[in-house]
């Protein structure tokens, strides 16, 4: 099996190299024979997908067959590993995850090449760019991180097992989601670069890639929050985001990708920001590669960097080459990216998008700087200096608050310019509502002058209310117009409204989801925790809860042994439940792992960790966290996902009446397209 896997990987490399080279020659020559060559290049790209898929299937079969003659399977699986984790072996280690990256890229390329009839020439350019990226990953797989490398010496009877941190259900879906996001940004980048190289007239490439970009963004969003939920549910420190380099690596392309999703509307609607969008989509692709590099190379220490290897140099060169290639084509063709309109007013939808983009990029740059600072300081001073949460929070929180202001304000502003009267008309009631929320919070005891984190929490609550109210007002206003025409009730009219412009109103649902998510995050300053050695019958109090240790128990299975604490949870005098924080010991890897238990309500999470025995006293230690409002984060994410799904649905058709054409003398021609 290993030989078949190795062979098809080599064949995939040959096919993708052919797809890249023949595709390039066909596009450059443009004579009669080149069209047939271009077609063979397209088919070679499709065949690449079949070969990489075959390689991935072979690797998964080897995992299920416990084929420990393959080094990768030995290092990331064992005989008693449950079946879902054996399947997840594909992306559990460096070689497998690079194969998975390559598979997803080939799959995206496969779909793109099948849909080439939409615009054969534009798709041919995009296909060549994707083939180029594919060649890099297949070179890595064949020569630097081979997933089918065989074990030397005598065959081991069992594998070393999967990292216990990865033996959690969400870990089966978190990496694929994240990778679908990372890899997916190659597609809009490929179209953007293709459009730039061929000086493609107009913005159709944006139209073509709109859904790709939204789907990719949705996957990356899911991936990031599944990772946050995994960290919360498994790592046992009571938090969901630690500004770890690998977490940051996933956030950076998300930030630039989100900025791109907004600013690209200006290009579509007004022919503006073409240069900015080109760099933004390149930065998003580049940061996604950088994220893979950070996760896989181990260049910066992280709890998530599951590998230490020499592939960093390969990635380094690839990042340099892609930057140089993009810069070359940009400088050669930048005249094609002339803006068709200028910013007419600072109070307009365009300017709100512009400021939103600047804030996203500022946040991204800050995170990039903080993430690489240990490496930079090592080069400058000889030792690594890491930056922690206070550094990131000092920039990210004010930026996030300003972004919320723009999220609320943007939909209320008109394109081109907005008068003060229009602002007052649209903004008054949501602003009063937000002020009322602030007042209620202050009356209920939040004193913003006591602590900066309370101030941020108050602002976040008010702005989340503002965003929610503007979204609601947009739906109600639009619903009333439809209702006036159709006679439907308001709710049915709002559903109709959603169908009429799914992208806009889906986007508003996403904004509402973000507001809900922010409510969850603003509970963080009010987190509390307690820790105690607890024998039978011992009690510990935290907030309104009293925890009573009932007993401890043990359990064994083939994969791990575990100890459980049985803790009764009382609120006042009433028992409201029993929780079972657990500590596992995985046999194959000889590693221990805590499994926290969480009692989640809309108001707060009670989070218990069994930390093991105190080595001095031999008594078990229980740590409890009381984290307010966390559930709202996960609810917010679900709303964001629903909104993204809605935005992907095609609009219902509408008839537009426009003025009859009249001949216009010597007006400036509509830009580009020549």
């Amino acid at each position: 099996m290993a030989q078949i896997g190795s062979y098809v990987l080599l064949l995939a490399l040959a096919l993708s190299a052919y797809s890249f080279l023949a595709g390039t020659v066909a596009l450059v020559r443009r004579d009669h024979g080149s069209e047939r060559m271009g077609e063979t290049a397209r088919r070679a790209g499709i065949a690449t997908f079949a070969m990489v898929l075959l390689a991935a299937v072979v690797l998964v079969i080897c995992a299920f067959q416990d084929n420990f003659s393959i080094a990768y399977i030995f290092h990331h699986s064992n005989r008693d590993l449950p079946a879902p984790y054996k399947f997840a072996t594909l992306w559990s280690g460096q070689e497998g995850s690079l194969l998975f990256w390559s598979l997803l890229l080939a799959a995206y390329g496969f779909v793109l090449r099948l849909r080439y009839k939409t615009d054969p020439r534009l798709f041919a350019y995009a296909s060549v760019v994707i083939a180029g990226v594919q060649v890099f990953f297949l070179l890595l797989l064949n020569f630097a991180a081979h997933p089918f490398a065989v074990m030397q010496g005598s065959l081991p009877s069992d594998g070393a097992g999967l990292n216990p941190l990865l033996q959690y259900p969400e870990m089966v879906i978190h990496p694929p989601m994240l990778y679908l996001g990372y890899v997916g940004f190659t597609v809009p980048f490929a179209f953007a670069l293709g459009a730039l190289i061929m000086k493609y007239p107009g913005e159709k490439w944006i139209h073509v890639t709109r859904r790709w970009t939204m789907v990719t963004w949705g996957f990356l969003t899911c991936g990031i929050f599944l990772g946050a939920h995994w960290a919360y549910s498994v790592l046992g420190w009571g938090g969901y985001w630690g500004w770890d380099p690998v977490e940051n690596a996933s956030l950076m392309p998300w930030l630039t990708g989100t900025a791109f999703l907004h600013s690209v509307m200006m290009q579509e609607k007004r022919g503006m920001l073409k240069v900015w969008n080109m760099w933004l989509v390149f930065a998003t692709f580049w940061l996604a590669i950088l994220g893979t590099f950070l996760t896989r190379s181990g260049i910066i220490s992280s709890v998530h960097a599951f590998a230490q290897s020499s592939i960093g140099e390969w990635f380094g060169w690839f990042l340099i080459i892609t930057f140089a290639a993009f810069l070359y084509f940009f400088l050669m063709n930048k005249s094609h990216l002339r803006s068709e309109h200028k910013l007419e007013s600072l109070v307009s939808r365009e300017s709100s998008f512009l400021f939103n983009n600047l804030l996203f990029v500022l946040a991204c740059f800050t995170i990039l700087w903080g993430t690489w600072f240990p490496k930079i300081s090592e080069l400058a001073q000889g030792h690594q200096v890491t930056v922690g949460a206070p550094f990131y929070n000092s920039v990210a929180i004010p930026v996030a608050l300003l972004l919320l202001v723009l999220t609320a304000l943007g939909p209320l502003l008109a394109w081109r310019k907005t008068s003060l009267e229009s602002l007052k008309r649209n903004f008054l009631w949501p602003a009063l509502g937000a002020l009322a929320v602030g007042l209620v919070m202050m009356i209920s005891g939040v004193r913003p002058w006591n602590d900066i984190s309370y101030f941020y929490a108050l602002m976040a609550a008010m702005l989340a209310a503002l965003v929610s109210l503007t979204v609601i007002s947009e739906f109600i206003r639009g619903g009333r117009v439809i209702s006036g025409h159709s006679g439907q009730n308001l709710f049915a009219s709002m559903v109709h409204l959603l169908h009429r412009n799914t992208r806009r109103y889906g986007g508003y649902i996403v904004h509402f989801g973000v507001a809900v998510l922010v409510i969850g995050i603003l509970g963080t300053p009010f987190n509390r925790e307690a820790e105690k050695e607890m024998g039978y019958g011992d009690k510990m109090s935290l907030g309104p809860y009293t925890l009573v240790c009932q007993s401890y128990t043990q359990e064994y299975n083939e994969n791990y042994s575990s100890e459980w604490a049985i803790i009764n949870v009382l609120k006042g005098d009433k028992q409201i439940g029993t929780m079972y924080p657990e500590r596992r010991f995985y046999k194959a890897s000889q590693q221990a792992q805590t499994i926290p238990r969480i009692r989640s309500t809309a108001a707060e999470d009670l989070y218990l960790v069994y930390e093991g025995l105190n080595p001095d006293t031999g008594r078990p230690i229980i740590k409890a966290h009381l984290n307010p409002l966390v559930m709202w984060i996960w609810v917010g994410v679900w709303i964001v996902i629903v909104g993204t799904g809605v935005a992907l649905i095609p609009n219902a058709q509408a008839v537009v009446r426009v003025p009859a054409p009249k001949l216009v003398e010597s007006h400036a021609p509509a830009g580009a397209g020549d």
Binding site: L11, L15, E39, P201, K269, K662, H667
Partner: protein
Amino acid sequence: MTIFICAVVTLLTLVYVFYLPGELYLGPEKTRAAYLRERKDAVYENLRDLNFEYKAGKLPDADYQSLKTSLQDEAATLLAEIARLEKNPPPASRRAKA
């Protein structure tokens, strides 16, 4: 067996990639007129949004009239150029299609 499977996979792949019976789909080449039609569609969509926002009460009359006029001027410019190009089309490209 392994060699046989690898040989079959290679053969099938080569046939799929290089055996191209019949004509190829090349699609129409994008012209400036096609580009202008896309821009026209974008401007119409902007007009549609503007009308809807006005009906929703988001814009005062003065703002609406001013924005509508500028969008209509833009649409008229595009339509005029499309009309000119349709009257005097540029020479046909070699990219015809089967």
